[in-house]
C-alpha cells in the first residue's frame, strides 16, 4: 500500500468517526435520548480514535499514530463491553432505544472491535512507512481537510452539549433533562 493510499484510508476513517458522532447526536436530538456517563465516555473514545488519522494525514503514516488509535479503540471496547454486561441479564430492557435490534453501546462495541481489526490490518502494509521522502500535501488536500475539521467541529460541539447536559457538577446516571437549561428555566 502506498503512502497516498494509506492517507486516503485514514481520511475515510475520519469520515467514519464523524458519522458515528453525528449518529449519536441524531439519537440525542431526534429521539431526545440523553447520553449516560458511560455513553459519553464511549463518544470521547470514538473522538480519540481520530487523533491517529489526523497525525497520519499531517505527518505521514507512522506505526505510533496507529498505536494511539489502537489504544483508544481498546479502551472504548472495554467501556462498551461493561455497558453491555450491565444490561445483559434476561428481563433487562437495556439503556435507551435499540437500532436494528441492538442498543447503541452494542453498536459501539462492534465499532471499536472493527476499528481494532482494521487498524491491525492496515499495520500489515509496510510500504506506507518506507516512503519517507515522498512529497505529501501539507494538509492532505481538500477531502482530508474537510474530514479533519468535521471531526474537530463535532468534538467541539460535544463540549457544549455535554456542558448543557451535565452542568458544572457530576453527570446524572440516567439523565433526562439538560441541567443548565433546567437551571435557566
Amino acid at each position: 500500500m502506498t503512502q497516498a493510499r494509506a492517507i486516503t484510508l485514514n481520511t475515510l476513517s475520519l469520515y467514519a468517526v464523524a458519522l458515528v458522532l453525528a449518529a449519536a447526536y441524531a439519537a440525542q436530538f431526534i429521539l431526545h435520548e440523553l447520553p449516560c456517563p458511560l455513553c459519553l465516555l464511549q463518544r470521547i473514545l470514538f473522538a480519540a480514535l481520530a487523533v491517529g488519522p489526523i497525525l497520519n494525514i499531517r505527518f505521514g503514516p507512522r506505526p505510533s499514530h496507529y498505536a494511539m488509535s489502537l489504544l483508544a479503540a481498546v479502551a472504548g471496547a472495554v467501556a462498551s463491553t461493561r455497558q453491555v454486561l450491565l444490561h445483559i441479564m434476561p428481563g433487562d430492557a437495556g439503556y435507551g432505544s435499540a437500532l436494528l435490534g441492538y442498543h447503541y453501546y452494542t453498536w459501539a462495541l462492534l465499532g471499536f472491535v472493527a476499528a481494532i481489526v482494521l487498524l491491525a490490518a492496515i499495520l500489515l502494509f509496510d510500504r506506507q512507512f518506507e516512503e519517507e521522502k515522498a512529497v505529501l500535501p501539507a494538509t492532505g488536500g481538500a477531502f482530508a481537510q474537510t474530514a479533519v475539521w468535521l471531526v474537530i467541529a463535532l468534538t467541539a460541539a460535544n463540549v457544549m452539549t455535554t456542558l448543557l447536559e451535565c452542568g458544572f457538577g457530576a453527570c446524572a446516571d440516567n439523565p433526562v433533562v439538560y441541567e443548565l437549561l433546567k437551571r435557566a428555566a
Binding site: V51, I88, V159, A170, C171
Partner: protein
C-alpha cells in the same frame, strides 16, 4: 463536568495534531487517554450482576 473537560481536551489534542507539534500532540493524547481510564474506573463501581 469531567466529560465536558475530556471532550474539550480531545478537541485541543486534535487541533494540536493538525496545527501544532507532533510530540506535544502525542503527550497530550497520552494524558487524555489516562484521564479517560481514570474516569472509567471512577464510574465503574456498580457490581455486574452476572451468573458466572
Amino acid at each position: 463536568m469531567e466529560f465536558t473537560i475530556l471532550f474539550l481536551a480531545t478537541a485541543i489534542v486534535m487541533l494540536i495534531a493538525w496545527r501544532g507539534q507532533r510530540p506535544l500532540a502525542l503527550g497530550l493524547f497520552g494524558a487524555v487517554l489516562i484521564a479517560c481510564v481514570a474516569t472509567y474506573l471512577h464510574h465503574a463501581t456498580d457490581t455486574l450482576k452476572l451468573s458466572f
